[in-house]
Symmetry: C2
Subunit: 588 residues, 2 copies
């Protein structure tokens, strides 16, 4: 792709830039193949506002507003919720900039994206592309139960399922030929696979699995064997069947056959928001958020239904966790194509069940494993506006749900909500290749790993990483049970309101806590150093007979510096609240 052809104007001076909640500024606008650069020509502004680099890929909408013979206004809305109004002198400039930005933001080939052109200026300690290799991740997952499960290479060339990764886990008793046959019976070839094995104290192992709907019309013994293999020796399992408007009735119809095909699995239908629901909800929420003097704020927030969707999804994730942890029943989440709500649900359930996924490394691994490798179509979901119907804030909804759990368990996560905001932004538009393409097959075709930098390489640099750490983190080995009552859920203001609301004071509070903890550490080190020095001097004095033995020992006892962590134990397991477990007999 030759960007030069699309760029009809590369620089416009004296543009008045207006943003909600900020004073208007005179700026120069420059356009490159991937960026719109706003540079401040007045020198009286903060350094932060002197240059603003905006990726064209991040543009949600660009449109012309009022227009006069001499000048016009372009309204630029970005996916990260920022809005800019550019007042431009000269009608040609307006038309040319509009056309340039429309074309550049609608470039849809991943291979033309910025990550392929980005020269990173940092030395990552680790190459993020090799941080979460399926081989190693799976062997961690299967630890101690490698006789029950095995890693299959049946999809190594992406021939069995084009949207799964090269390696997948299947029950050991199922051969590759059976897996390939089962895949043919599932929409998009997305055959059932376990994503997490929950271990109870008594060494019982309960799998959480995912898969797409079966293709109606015929039975498939291999698929039935695969599903039975996932249940293993567990008494009963639950198939959580995600439904929304676009779910075809033919798929949901065959209930009776279903039950006979998959005995000892109970099917539970759960109605959850569709891609369209999420997109529309996000649109009305964004409109409400960008209207800071809006008197009807709460009504509009309610009408956007965003928090209702958060509630429904979080509630379902808690149900999954409850079935697995309390009922000790395997759960398989299915969805027509299993690339959206399934990703949210299986990863949220892991956040609740698995303390590792609440560490920074574990959380990155979770996103890599259950979103990127699992084929959530990041590229399509964040497409330019000309492909709107396939877009939707699926990953953002997941991050919001994590935020809600974090808010209720502020000491149980190794990271803070900062990383959630960062991930949201990079999923929309980024200099890194991590969220490029829709699945591993596409990534292999584009040679993403070879030609782009991984977001994890950037994130795992010491200074970047340490900014994400939660100074209040205390590892919590238990399953956590957030409240899903509507009044327990709050708007994620650090994401949705960051451009319209002053967040300085809350940031100050967090910074102050961090500093106090830092000073605490330093004071301890200093005390330890002094103690050592004193000991040496006392030893010397003792050797020279200057003080008596009793004296020294006395001191030592009294002077012991306690470096214990706080001992408030909140980690006793809490019972989940307000979630009804469907009984196995109660099959409607």
């Amino acid at each position: 792709m030759e960007f030069a052809e699309l760029i009809k104007v590369s620089r416009i001076d004296n543009v008045r830039v207006r943003r909600p909640g900020k004073p208007a500024m005179e700026m120069t606008v420059a356009i490159t193949g991937h960026h719109l650069i706003l540079s401040n020509t007045q020198n009286n502004q903060d350094i932060g506002d002197r240059e603003i680099w905006l990726l064209h890929r991040g543009i949600l909408i660009v449109q012309k507003e009022n227009d006069s013979p001499r000048s016009g206004t372009l309204c630029l809305k970005y996916k990260d919720l920022r809005t800019f109004y550019l007042d431009i002198i000269g009608p040609d400039n307006v038309v040319n900039l509009l056309s340039t930005l429309s074309s550049l933001s609608n470039v849809s080939e991943a291979s033309s994206a910025y990550p392929f052109f980005y020269n990173h200026g940092f030395k990552g300690l680790e190459d993020g592309w090799f941080l979460f290799r399926p081989e190693e991740e799976y062997s961690k997952l299967l630890l101690k139960c490698e006789n029950i499960w095995r890693v299959t290479k049946v999809n190594y060339e992406f021939n069995v399922c084009s949207s799964y990764g090269r390696l997948n886990i299947v029950p050991s008793i199922i051969g590759d030929i059976a897996v390939a046959a089962a895949a043919k019976h599932r929409i998009g070839g997305r055959f059932p696979v376990p994503v997490y094995i929950h271990r109870k104290d008594d060494n019982r192992e309960i799998p959480l699995a995912r898969g797409s709907y079966t293709v109606a019309g015929w039975r498939c013994t291999e698929d039935e064997r695969l599903v039975a293999g996932i249940k293993g020796t567990n008494r009963k399992g639950f198939i959580l069947c995600v439904q929304h408007e676009k779910t075809r009735s033919s798929v949901t119809a065959g209930k009776i056959e279903y039950d006979s095909m998959y005995p000892q699995w109970k099917r539970v239908n759960i109605k959850l928001p569709s891609l369209t629901d999420l997109r529309e909800s996000m649109q009305s929420l964004t409109l409400a958020c960008n209207d800071p003097v809006n008197e009807k704020w709460l009504s509009r927030l309610a009408a956007s239904k965003w928090l209702s969707h958060v509630k429904e999804i979080l509630n379902t994730a808690c149900l999954i966790a409850q079935l697995i942890d309390k009922e000790e029943a395997p759960v398989m989440v299915i969805e027509p194509d299993s690339v959206d709500l399934t990703c949210i649900l299986v990863s949220l359930a892991q956040i609740l069940l698995n303390p590792d996924s609440r560490t920074l490394h574990g959380f990155e691994a979770l996103i890599e494993r259950d979103w990127i490798q699992a084929g959530h179509p990041f590229w399509t979901r964040n497409s330019p506006s000309n492909m709107e119907k396939e877009t939707g804030p699926v990953f953002l909804m997941f991050l919001d749900c994590v935020f809600q759990i974090y808010t209720q368990y502020p000491c149980s996560f190794e990271f803070t909500e900062r990383i959630l905001v960062l991930l949201a932004d990079h999923s929309f538009a980024s200099q890194f290749g991590t969220f490029l393409c829709n699945n591993e097959k596409e990534r292999a075709q584009c040679a993403v790993r070879e030609h782009t930098v991984s977001l994890w390489s950037y994130l795992n640099q010491v200074e970047i990483l340490s900014a994400q750490l939660n100074c209040l983190y205390t590892p919590n080995p238990c399953v956590i049970w957030p409240s899903v009552a509507p009044m327990s859920l709050t708007l994620w203001s650090a994401y949705f309101l960051r451009w319209v609301q002053d967040q300085k004071h809350q940031a100050y509070e967090r910074k102050k806590i961090t500093e106090i903890i830092e000073r605490n550490k330093n004071a301890k080190i200093e005390a330890a150093r002094l103690r050592k020095e004193l000991d040496e001097l006392q030893k010397e004095a003792l050797d020279l007979g200057l003080i008596e033995v009793g004296e020294k020992q006395d001191e030592e006892e009294e002077g012991e510096l306690e470096i214990v962590e706080p001992e408030i134990n909140l980690h006793q397991e809490l019972s989940p609240r307000g979630i009804k477990v469907p009984a196995l007999g109660d099959n409607k």
Copy 2:
């Protein structure tokens, strides 16, 4: 009053007690003149639930629910938002308990209230009744400008204004006879008085004053002179005229005369919620909060209008602060009887303007001065349900507004929101005399000071006080400007949702921060102790010639323990946002 006559049943066994969000319990109910005592007869419960003491004064509603020949249910709602359902066996028991609780909760004489019967078991360091004496409080307020203002004893016997305290501040140029004459021209005799003097860096002093509406029909030179005296040498002032539905039109009518009577004062009419608005808003908010599985939560929260009222009131307080601090114009807040919204507005404005009022002592002083002494009718506003029309959550609304400011400036308050919850509870029903009666005259008649304990005596005990302290407090000498955008305001969940929502994890976070700070302090003390010891030993060694001089000094330099507080300076003054200042000429 003989309580024995009203108590028709003093003990009922085997009562099943149900509370939202808690398991039902078998309990014994005992009734005394002031308390309903629920005692747990099962021994498997927490110690906290073993006995619940509930003041009859705290009852909002007691009513009979379903009824059968053998048993019945009493529903008990308390002003602190707790709800209890008592399932009682025996129809007589139900009727007798209902009648007993109805009578006892409707006792309206302050002199029969519990504080007169309460034997306190603690030794207060200070007697709270003498902590905030008007003499001393006023001399602090008038510091450096005692030639402009004076303290008058004209109301010493409560003859001039029955709801003001004995001492009041007036301009020095106005004699007592003129003050008494002015009082006759104001509803309830509530003549204009300054409540706070704002000092700018250039030593300019701008007063904030309060007063009731004038009595329409005639002019009063003394009142005009008094108002002119409050303006003093300032160029212009603003009369902020609080209006709501019940404001009589005759009062607001005389606009033209008004302007000529009080030259250089501009009148600004502000429509704010009435007592009825607040009461109804609170009722619908309470209903919504007690319905935890409610799907329409956000819509019901919006429909209650509570946060809209918070916004309107906070907005007006910011306007007052802005007029005083930015326009340097005196402000006089008037209201028909000046005992409700006026109290909220003048005290909120001080929280914004005066850093002292954000300390624990300063906040207590503010409540004592501008609520208790100023004659906010606490007793009537929290009357039993048979006097509902005069009730309303005025003080609670003030506390909620303080909570909103605290949330936005979490490091600028010496106290946390805990004290706000505590004050709300005590204002409704308490063992202390602080919130008894409606004004100082009534308190003098009942001899409240002589026969009851002050809440401040209790609160200022070291262990109680320290539990209220905000470990993140950093004195902020500036005027603070909270955002009043609807999206910046949140429901005060620690008050409104405390009985239905699990607040353990948030409490854990706060506790952990406090512990870390405590350990930091201890580590510093320990380091200082070790350093001292080392110094002594080194000195000894030096005297004996064991080490050289240079050695020791080297150590000292390197070993210096920094005990500096964090140096993030967020205290530069921020500009107030979104508040339109009415221009002096723009008089509509």
